[in-house]
């Protein structure tokens, strides 16, 4: 460790340049990963909501509503239908606004409409179900989620594609910068490297200090980026939480496991840190390996 720190201190500007380049790339990468996971979590959440909801006018009786429910179930297009009575709606409202007594005072069960939450067997049935519901007597409003899901899906897809392109560009640029800086560092120690090679040092032996410095800077950059990101999230948390009011958690489907991405759990935070650190150290080591390879082969004529 002392040797690494001494070497970094002897080339302060190159070390700072490597750190800055890694810092920028890792920060943007972490931001992209976080945003994509968040969007996927949001998409999963929206997909899990009722696909079509019909709200009834106040005067519509429960018998009529149950009649609509039975008719829907007979169509063969429905996976499930859930009846939310006025009282159920009021209870949900109370739960959502438990921290705001003023809002609770202003609302009674009579004000809130009864509704049916409908899940279709196939997404293709949704327009037909929505058409059918629009013709129901006593309906107040029909909410059709397909457009929201489609828009979110399209947004997520665009963000993912753009992020991938940006990410590749970012990594290529960072690698080139790191390679160039390492070339400088190697050139500064050209005499020593030449002497070491003539004395029988292996390429691995000569490369080792450069790799150690790269791994160290990768680790430090990742840790600083993570710390900064955590601080920013800490201050943004109340605003995001308020924006997501009513959404208890967002999770990403990892096959057999649901990873909770909001609110941030220790597992997700740890995974992000490990991925970021490995990534930072990996790219620094990769660039250094290729930058030194050219100079370390035994050149004989």
């Amino acid at each position: 460790m002392r040797k690494i720190l001494t070497a970094l201190r002897r080339t302060p500007y190159q070390s700072l340049a490597v750190f800055s380049s890694l810092f920028l790339s890792l920060f943007l990468s972490l931001l992209l990963i976080f945003c994509i996971n968040f969007l996927y979590g949001l998409l999963g959440y929206v997909e899990s909501r009722p696909q079509v909801t019909i709200y009834f006018q106040n005067e519509t009786t429960e018998t009529n509503i149950m009649g609509v429910k039975n008719d829907l179930e007979k169509t063969g297009m429905i996976e499930s239908v859930k009846y939310i009575s006025k009282n159920d709606a009021f209870n949900l409202y109370k739960d959502l606004n438990k921290d705001n007594p003023l809002l609770l005072e202003m609302v009674s069960p009579d004000v809130l409409p009864a509704s049916l939450e409908i899940f279709a067997k196939k997404p293709e049935y949704l327009p037909q179900i929505a058409d059918r519901l629009n013709k129901v007597t006593g309906k107040d409003e029909v909410n059709f989620q397909k457009n929201v899901v489609d828009k979110l899906l399209s947004l997520t897809s665009v963000v993912r594609t753009m992020s991938l392109g940006f990410f590749v560009f970012l990594m290529a640029t960072t690698s080139i910068i790191l390679m160039t800086i390492t070339h400088f560092k190697v050139a500064l120690r050209k005499d020593e490297i030449e002497l070491l090679r003539l004395m029988g040092a292996s390429a691995g032996y000569v490369r080792k200090p450069f790799m150690q410095q790269a791994l160290f800077l990768g680790f430090i950059s990742a840790t600083v980026v993570y710390g900064l990101f955590a601080t920013i999230l800490y201050f943004l948390f109340p605003a995001v939480q308020s924006y997501l009011r009513g959404i208890e958690q967002l999770s990403v489907d990892l096959g057999s496991y649901q990873l909770i991405v909001w609110p941030i759990t220790p597992l997700y935070a740890g995974a992000l840190y490990i991925v970021l650190t490995l990534f930072g150290m990996g790219i620094a080591a990769f660039a250094t390996y290729f930058a030194t390879r050219k100079y370390l082969s035994i050149q004989r004529s």
């Binding site: 005499d191 002497l195 029988g200 035994i298 004529s301």
Partner: protein, 225 residues
């Protein structure tokens, strides 16, 4: 053992540095390479070190054919060879101890052994107590001693010296040669030199080169061109 068999070395622009040279040097033999500038002395040293390929012929050093393309073999060979360069090649940002210990670090010896070995060789070259001096604090003679100490330190069986006394005054020159004499019984020493006095006085084997050709090989020779 070092063996040259019909070795020719020509450079890309057509210069022939060595022309059909053959000789063998036994282990622990002390040999001078003499000849005018451009005669091929440094080329022979570079071939032994594996820094050059022969254009034709074979160079075998310690049973390793230096034409081998395997870097590992060449690295292994170089760890058995100490080189004293004419321009010393002392690293300016490292002190005497660090410069000498370079070769031992390469062999990945434990620090205790490195310290003991460096102290021993410092005593051999008469630089006791100068461990932590930096090159700028040393005279040319002392720098050459550091270079010799570095070449001798560790388990290096062959010492190659390219004009080791080229820039030194007569007294320092003799001091340097005394260091080589101290280890001549257990190391193969090859010195490329122009110094007539040294070659004549030491009565060692002399290989005379002229325009890339080996013209004389004298067992206890003097400086003749």
């Amino acid at each position: 053992m070092i063996q040259f068999e019909n070795v020719t070395k020509s450079y890309p622009l057509g210069t022939v540095a060595l022309d059909d040279v053959s000789f063998a040097i036994e282990p622990n033999e002390f040999t001078f390479l003499v000849g005018t500038s451009g005669a091929g002395k440094t080329t022979i040293l570079n071939l032994i070190l594996g820094d050059l390929y022969p254009s034709s012929g074979t160079v075998i050093v310690n049973d390793i054919d230096i034409s081998s393309k395997k870097s590992k073999k060449i690295e292994e060979l170089r760890r058995r060879i100490g080189v004293v360069f004419q321009d010393f090649k002392i690293l300016q940002d490292k002190n005497v101890f660090e410069n000498i210990a370079l070769g031992l670090h390469i062999q990945e010896l434990p620090m205790k052994k490195i310290k003991d070995a460096v102290r021993e060789v410092l005593s051999l070259v008469g630089l006791e107590g100068r461990d932590y001096y930096f090159p700028v604090q040393l005279s040319a003679g002392e720098l050459q001693r550091v270079a010799i100490a570095r070449a001798m330190c560790g388990d290096r069986q062959i010492i190659l010296a390219d004009e080791p006394t080229g820039n030194l005054d007569p007294k320092t020159t003799w001091d340097i040669m005394k260091i080589f004499k101290k280890v001549e019984d257990h190391k193969t020493i090859i010195i490329a030199t122009h110094n007539t006095d040294i070659v004549n006085s030491m009565k060692k084997r002399v290989l005379v080169l002229k325009k890339g050709r080996l013209t004389k090989d004298m067992k206890k020779g003097g400086y003749e061109l």
